[in-house]
Symmetry: C3
Subunit: 261 residues, 3 copies
Amino acid sequence: MPPTTITLLTDFGYQDHYVGVMKGVILSINPQIKFVDISHNVSPHNVLEGAIILNNAYSYFPRGTIHIAVVDPGVGSDRKAILVAGKDYFFVGPDNGIFGLVCNRLKEFNVFELTNSRFFLKPISATFHGRDIFAPIAAYLSKGVPPAEMSQKIKNYQSLSLPVPIIEGERIKGTVIHMDGFGNLVTNINRGHLKKIGKENSLKVKIGERIITKISPNYQSVNRGKLLALIGSSEMLEISVREGNTWKMLGYKEGDEVLVF
Amino acid sequence: MPPTTITLLTDFGYQDHYVGVMKGVILSINPQIKFVDISHNVSPHNVLEGAIILNNAYSYFPRGTIHIAVVDPGVGSDRKAILVAGKDYFFVGPDNGIFGLVCNRLKEFNVFELTNSRFFLKPISATFHGRDIFAPIAAYLSKGVPPAEMSQKIKNYQSLSLPVPIIEGERIKGTVIHMDGFGNLVTNINRGHLKKIGKENSLKVKIGERIITKISPNYQSVNRGKLLALIGSSEMLEISVREGNTWKMLGYKEGDEVLVF
Amino acid sequence: MPPTTITLLTDFGYQDHYVGVMKGVILSINPQIKFVDISHNVSPHNVLEGAIILNNAYSYFPRGTIHIAVVDPGVGSDRKAILVAGKDYFFVGPDNGIFGLVCNRLKEFNVFELTNSRFFLKPISATFHGRDIFAPIAAYLSKGVPPAEMSQKIKNYQSLSLPVPIIEGERIKGTVIHMDGFGNLVTNINRGHLKKIGKENSLKVKIGERIITKISPNYQSVNRGKLLALIGSSEMLEISVREGNTWKMLGYKEGDEVLVF
């Protein structure tokens, strides 16, 4: 049987021992695990950003992959610790919306509250459940311990949703929902939305005071340093500067309005 | 037999080929190795910071794990290259105090000077012993080459110790010894020190001109953006701003005095 | 048979899901792969910097290692996607010079254009060929699919070369070609160039207005904070500040002229 993959997504950064320690705890329980880091540079405490990155990533992994996500400002409080068991993937982390976008996409899934402290690392700290709860639960799960033995099925979990673009006739009013490390601005407008308003070859995009006069097929369609709009790798409309950083050069960022017309 | 884990802790950063090359050298000798990165963002040349991070991490790994630590401003000089062999863990790196805190905690251990250049990569550079000495030694160790074949037992090694808090009656005078990536300030005061002065529920903490009126059970015990004190994941008293960065917001940092009373 | 190693070198940074997703795609095809990250902090769109880092790293890995390099400002345009097959290593990425320095060093190699979309991930995005083309091709290659089945041999590829130092009598005029994360400045002058002008023990180095009066054997040969010149780990002349950052302290950087005399 191939080794199980466990991915990690956190806001722990790359400076401290936190991520390494989680992996150590997991390997102590299951030495065969393969790790993949999704990112540890989620903006501190930014659950929405973590949820977006996880949602962009999880489905590209082998079936059976366990995704741990820890952006957890409520650690040590009474927020629940949960396990989401989908048909193909598992998710382990705090119940604060970090799995909200994933749950919106999964067709069948169960949510379990992690209640059996027999599977936790002791003493349980008030600040590092990544080490004390999420890492060991993921490791035992990878060894075949059934969720029902470590946790209790629950009905309610913290949901999350992204703003939906508003379509009015031949106009779409959307929003920048994410900025990547290149400074590219990902909007909440997808290919389907664009099709709905028709006029495929004459679409214009407005952000701030700037109007982009077409949807480009790729970055090279405009000159270096020029602003463009294109369909990005998550099938959403993105706004970029060719070989530049849209945010640094023009100041546009998450939350900014984007008009397509 | 499960694969051996080798961890890496350096100040090499994430920009260059240095860490990747060390892993390449190791895999060329033992292709079965599992790697875990502890951190490569130790402040450049800061041996104490490296020692603290390693000390926070090493004991969470499976028995037999080999920890390589390279914060090595003396590379290429006559500082020794060493291997510390404990009951459960091995440590490979420069003899400059980076293993000092670990050695203070290990009960039984031997220190070996890496003297047998037959196990080094040639030519040995003057600037990158991580690649030329520490990586191959760790790899051969993982393949079962006994330390005595690669090195010579020595008695003296570079020790290191953290400042000890001063307890005077019902007062503890401590110090911030470490700042993590969130800006949390870790002090040298632990749970045991707090117990010694008694009055568990009425402890106050002073840093700079600020007085914190209790030890909180978790971050959520105070409002967002407020300063708090709590017992962190390494069982030390920590000072934090809830969902904020204590250092960026208040300027407190390593070396600052902390009073508990 | 030992597991195949795939290395990754990109300018994707550590903030987004991009690198993790490439690994997920690869593990979905070949779950036995071992990953090593070379760096994901290549300066955005800087093909030359990526080529230098790859050139410093590739040869330290086990035979059969597949190196993926994606610094790819031309993604989605008509730039080719290629596979370079050397005697010991494979390279997968865009045909934009990123493999230029490697090809200058390899003795025997063939270059293939990735033309068989049967091996790509669909739909192929215009912005993320790392995920859609390079990752799956590397994964199938690791499973033994022959290059000729996925691609077509080609004769021309994008070459790249570094500036060559000019030797005039007892003088070498060179250039800083790379700055590492410590701020060390790597020049294009190697040990062989130094030997050519003789006078081994009386060499001087000039950068900007500063003259360094010898080649030091290691960092400790000068006082802390002082400028020095030494032969670095890639066998090139480097200019450093002991336990300091040459770039931050003195402002010297890539492209600056370096004289040896």
